[in-house]
């Protein structure tokens, strides 16, 4: 019964979503408040019914209703409760429902927090979001219905892929989707503005808040995913340039560009069409990611069972939504004014230079990800483009961006004198260079790549410090008060940029000084890696809620301090013959100790991999700092103040 309620709710939601967009667009074009408010109510109703559907599916998982095909294929009785619920998005159908539910949630948020917007603009906004929802609901109902019955019902489900039975599965997809789908709001703002012609600084300010929120979610979501891969996949990497990772990274890069370009549009009323184009791109790349993951055109560790029919549907949807948006863009763009004037060296131009680098970086990721597909489609052979390619080309592309970041903080709107900039930053530059050269030598071994990485990180840090110092000298009160009194947007920018520096430090040092040992160890044997002695104390058998595990025991001792116990596991799940490696990690600010258990080599000895990962936590900490910077910027009073004014 409950699954039928869910299914029926989806149908109702589809009807309401159609009403949402028809009424809204009709109301906007004829300026009739009745239609516009009908569209608004339909949007809220649509959210209500999608929520019912989502809860119904959740209930089916909670109650292990194996008469539902999707539940039977992704859950079983023994699955711990948190994974039963996470299994809602463990397969294709349910994750599409999560996509749609997230979209509905954003729509609901837009209906609530858009009262200050001009009525027609607001209606077009909600109408556009309705159109996207219609597409996804049709897709779910006609090709990916999670409520499909299984007759006769299965006695026991097939369970969730053991790889996904991890706390990461509970958080990573919803947060990532909040980011992905959140760009639909920026997209809808762009379409509404193109339709109505409200491209002005006000528009940029409205859009900026929504974009920043989506960007924060995406940043955190990607960081979660990276960290999950780090501990779950058992070889200690944090980024694999896998097609699906790239699919989430591309919208992030363009989203980052969009945040910066919105600043130019907001302050200077300039580069409006470029900003609109980025808003369209950001969401297009989210849709593209969905297509790449689900159509099977690329191989990936994450890919869902590939299904060309579904691929064709998403492709058609992609063509309509993005193609339509780009045609609208081509029609409207020539009529938009240029905005404020600024010098070739100015804050505006620095922000736009950031845009160039971010968009090119996204282009590089896309080129590498899709190139095998291009060649294959042209019948020119099969190739692989993997981490060695991306690592080679990505760093040189990003390096100028990091350098510009330092300069940009000091630049002024409209015009900046280059000579004054150089004289003010020469000390920051000298300090960065010296530290970058000396630090790797202190770490034990001088490497050019490490030095280059640290130079970029220190450059960002020192320039941020000089800038902070400038503001502090100008302020009054004690030191802490002075920091607190700085504008939130500025604080957020500094924090996010420092996050980039922290991230670079982590990436550089773990790449430069990470150690790895492939060993054959019998109980009682010891190995010294770096300054740590790892002793293997043998294995014991343990049982989890739905798996059996061999647990290895390692005692790690340093010259001083208490020894650390590390217990990596090798789990075999009842339903799946593939054993899962569960690494044991001792996390630290300066380094992680990482042990994973390989195969048993004979009755006693085991293959063991030991890694030392210096500063690896800084990678994710840096990402969280970037997200934190975004949150701070959201609290900048100018967004609330002016919104209230517009409302009054």
């Amino acid at each position: 019964m409950i699954p039928e309620i869910g299914h029926f709710s989806l149908i109702l939601a589809l009807v309401l979503a159609i009403a949402q967009s028809t009424f809204s667009f009709k109301g906007a074009s004829s300026n009739q408040p009745v239609f516009m408010s009908a569209g608004l109510s339909a949007a809220r109703g649509q959210f209500f019914f999608v929520s019912i559907a989502f809860i119904s599916l959740g209930y089916a998982f909670y109650s292990s209703d194996f008469s539902v095909l999707y539940v039977a294929s992704n859950s079983n009785f023994n699955l711990p409760i948190q994974y039963k619920l996470a299994a809602i998005w463990g397969g294709h159908e349910g994750s599409m429902l999560l996509w749609t539910a997230t979209l509905s949630l954003w729509t609901m948020a837009v209906t609530i927090f858009s009262q200050h917007l001009p009525a027609q603009f607001r209606a077009r906004l909600i109408g556009t979001m309705g159109l996207i929802t219609v597409g996804f609901l049709i897709f779910i109902l006609f090709s990916s219905n999670p409520f499909e019955r299984l007759i006769p019902a299965a006695l026991e489900g097939r369970s969730l892929n053991p790889l996904l039975q991890d706390p990461g599965m509970v958080f990573h997809p919803p947060v990532l989707y909040m980011g992905y789908v959140g760009f639909s709001v920026a997209f809808a703002f762009a379409i509404a503005a193109l339709l109505g012609g409200e491209l002005n600084p006000e528009w940029a300010r409205w859009t900026r808040t929504w974009t920043t929120i989506a960007w924060i979610f995406l940043t955190v979501g990607i960081a979660f995913g990276s960290k999950w891969a780090y501990y779950e996949l058992g070889w200690g990497g944090w980024w694999f340039w896998d097609a699906v990772e790239n699919a989430s990274f591309m919208p992030w890069l363009v989203g980052t560009a969009l945040i910066h370009s919105l600043a130019v549009t907001e302050k200077r009323d300039a580069f409006k069409m470029w900003t609109v184009l980025l808003a369209i791109f950001a969401f297009s790349l989210s849709l593209l990611g969905t297509f790449l993951v689900r159509s099977g055109v690329l191989t990936s560790v994450h890919a869902f069972a590939s299904d060309p029919t579904r691929g064709l549907f998403i492709l058609a949807f992609l063509a309509i939504v993005i193609g339509g948006a780009l045609i609208l863009f081509a029609i409207r763009a020539p009529k938009v004014g240029l905005g404020g004037k600024f010098g070739v060296v100015s804050r505006e131009s620095f922000l736009l230079a950031n845009n160039v680098v971010m968009v090119v970086a996204c282009g590089v990721v896309m080129l590498g990800t899709l190139y095998p597909l291009f060649l294959d489609a042209l019948g020119m052979g099969k190739i692989s483009v993997g981490p060695p390619y991306f690592n080679t080309v990505f760093v040189p592309v990003m390096a100028p961006a990091f350098f510009l970041m330092g300069l940009a903080i000091f630049s002024r709107w409209k015009n900046t004198e280059l000579p004054s900039l150089i004289s003010r930053l020469k000390w920051a530059f000298i300090i960065s260079v010296v530290t970058a050269i000396v630090t790797p030598a202190v770490m034990g071994q001088w490497k050019p790549m490490v030095s280059l990485g640290l130079l970029m990180a220190f450059w960002i840090i020192t320039t941020a410090m000089v800038s902070l110092y400038d503001y502090m000298v100008a302020g009054s009160g004690n030191l802490i008060l002075r920091v607190i009194r700085l504008p939130r947007a500025y604080q957020g920018m500094i924090l996010a940029h420092l996050g980039v520096a922290v991230f670079i430090v982590g990436v550089t040092l773990v790449g430069g000084y990470g150690l790895e040992q492939d060993l054959r160890m019998s109980p009682g044997e010891k190995v010294k890696v770096d300054q740590f002695t790892f002793q293997f104390d043998g294995v014991t058998q343990t049982a989890g809620p739905n798996y059996m595990a061999v647990r290895g025991h390692f005692t790690v001792s340093k010259s001083q301090g208490a020894p650390i116990i590390l217990e990596p596991e090798k789990r075999s799940y009842q339903e799946d013959s593939m054993p899962m490696t569960e690494a044991a990690i001792e996390t630290g600010l300066m380094k992680d100790l990482y042990v994973s258990l390989g195969e048993p080599l004979n009755s006693e000895a085991w293959a063991v991999r030991i890694y030392i990962k210096p500063f690896v936590q800084w990678i994710w900490f840096g990402c969280f700092m970037m997200a934190g910077g975004g949150i701070l910027a959201l609290f900048d009073p100018r967004y609330r103040r002016k919104n209230k004014k517009a409302l009054g």
Partner: protein, 137 residues
């Protein structure tokens, strides 16, 4: 330097009697750097270095033997390409089909900055001086 360090660490570890999987640390260091550039064909989205699939283990064994035979890294890569095609290389070789792949990033970056420069210059010439919008940090 890296190899020396690895050698040193491995000698240390041997002294303490936990055995490395490989008998020769120099071979192992080369295997590692080589296999990070090669794709595991069974799992398809892992490098040969990271994969624990049986075929990956066989191929690592094969590579160890080829290194011991004195083949260069390039010869070993060619040996594998002859059997599995360019598909095994995670770093595609530069040839006419991949020219766009390798030159693309540089070309895009140059085009990007040229377009930005030209747009900014042209914009500056066409706009009047007195356009004012809100001016704060």
């Amino acid at each position: 330097m890296k190899r020396l360090l690895a050698l040193f660490l491995l000698l240390l570890s041997l002294a303490l009697n936990a055995e490395s999987i490989a008998s020769d640390p120099l071979v192992e260091a080369r295997l590692k750097s080589l296999s990070q550039e090669l794709r595991c064909l069974v799992c398809q989205n892992q490098t040969l270095a990271d994969s624990t699939a049986p075929l990956a283990e066989d191929l690592r064994r094969e590579i160890r033997e080829l290194i011991a035979k004195g083949m260069t890294d390039e010869e070993i890569t060619n040996y594998l390409v002859a059997r599995y095609g360019d598909f095994v290389r995670y770093r595609p070789p530069f040839k006419s089909q991949t020219a766009l792949l390798w030159l693309g990033p540089t070309v895009m970056l140059i085009i990007g900055f040229v377009v930005l420069w030209v747009t900014l210059r042209r914009r500056n010439k066409t706009l009047p001086n007195d356009y004012e919008v809100a001016d704060e940090i």
